[in-house]
Amino acid sequence: MNERRNELDSSGQHLYRRRRFLGIFGSLLGGLLGGLWALAAKADPGAGPAAPRELPLKEADFYRPHDLAG
């Protein structure tokens, strides 16, 4: 016999029921948040400071190839 399954808390509730409820609820919540994060990343993959915008180097004006003497 598993004594833990019959263990009562101070309010008379079975502890294992509360643990099972928290486990299921936590899994659902985690899955929901993970899904939202994945959707957000797909919608805007460049968002966030870790992914800087591309900005190519601009060619300058007012220069010429250097003429070598000789």
Partner: protein
């Protein structure tokens, strides 16, 4: 290996492949010169117009001010040496702001002008030109705060999109430019004349450094040149030196020295001569040259009184006061 010659400023740097010009920010990559700080400002602020300083150009307006790293002079007393005497890769902070974003930000902050300033905007020439073109189309004005060490052709092209400049005239002595700034005098004088010829509103700043350029005879010659070549209505700002960067051995400029300089400049006919970086308002006050009527009073960078008519006339004698007022 293809070296290039930069023709933007009088230095005419010959830049080997992989190296930067003297300004540190124009780099030869694969035989092409790249403006490496284009779209990458390192300083962005909102200032009062009086801080540039411009006293006869939209007084009291806010001006969106930006700069990138780099400079084509190397003044021993530079106030912004952390910005100007570094290449872009050495900066702690680099923003990304393409020209359209700069203009949008200036409008969002209710600025009526954009200043290219702090370091010398000559070295981010292409960024200035593209931003200024968009700014003008959006109804903003463009202000170029510079030491004016630039070749004539690039400057003429840029003037098409500039409205005003505050240009340094650091001394009326070529030796001073060579020793203290790492430049020469004549290109600066030529650039000042070009600004005027191209219709850009010009105000001139002379930073007075004790023992180095505070000789009153030299200040008199400089003022005469300004009167003759730029016109007696050109505002001249004598600015107070404070010890900075590699020139910490000299004391701040005494106020009396600045007042004597101001008197010399007025003696030779300049009509709007100001004193800057000094507490006290008379040296920064605009008065009518004809009748002494108070036009604009300033305290520091804050405009405290403005009695000019909306179209820039003296309320007493109705004379048109030179400047851009509305």
């Amino acid at each position: 290996m293809t070296a290039v010659t930069c023709e933007l400023c009088p230095r005419a740097c010959v830049i080997p492949e992989g190296a930067a010009g003297d300004c540190r920010v124009r780099v030869n990559l694969g035989g092409k010169l790249r403006a490496t700080t284009y779209g990458r400002p390192s300083a962005v602020h909102i200032d009062p117009m009086e801080k540039k300083p411009l006293y006869h150009f939209h007084p009291g307006a806010l001006i969106f001010s930006l700069a990138t790293a780099g400079c084509n002079l190397h003044c021993l007393n530079c106030q912004n040496w952390q910005l100007s005497q570094r290449g872009g890769e050495e900066m702690e902070q680099i923003y990304r702001a393409e020209p359209a974003e700069v203009v949008a930000a200036a409008q969002a902050e209710r600025c009526r002008a954009i200043a290219y300033t702090y370091s010398d905007p000559i070295v981010f020439y292409e960024y200035v030109e593209d931003t200024a073109t968009l700014a003008r189309a959006a109804g903003l004005t463009n202000v170029f705060v510079t030491a004016a060490y630039i070749n004539r052709e690039p400057l003429r092209r840029l003037c098409r999109v500039l409205d005003a400049t505050n240009a340094d005239l650091k001394a009326f002595d070529d030796g001073f430019y060579r020793r203290v700034n790492g430049g020469t005098l004549k290109p600066v004088l030529d650039a000042l004349v070009t600004f005027r010829q191209e219709g850009v509103w010009v105000e001139v700043t002379n930073l007075v450094i004790p023992t180095l350029n505070d000789d009153l005879a030299m200040i008199r010659r400089m003022s005469r040149w300004i009167a003759a070549e730029m016109g007696v209505d050109t505002p001249l700002h004598f600015s107070r030196f404070t010890p900075q960067y590699r020139m910490r051995n000299l004391p701040p400029t005494p106020t009396q020295t600045l007042e004597r300089a101001r008197n010399e400049a007025r003696d030779v006919g300049l009509r709007y001569v100001y004193i800057g970086n000094v507490l006290g308002d008379e040296g920064s006050t605009t008065r009518c040259p004809r009748d002494g009527t108070l036009h604009i009073r300033r305290s520091g960078f804050v405009l405290t009184e403005n009695h000019l008519t909306p179209d820039g006339r003296c309320p007493t004698c109705n004379d048109k006061i030179p400047g851009v007022w509305s």
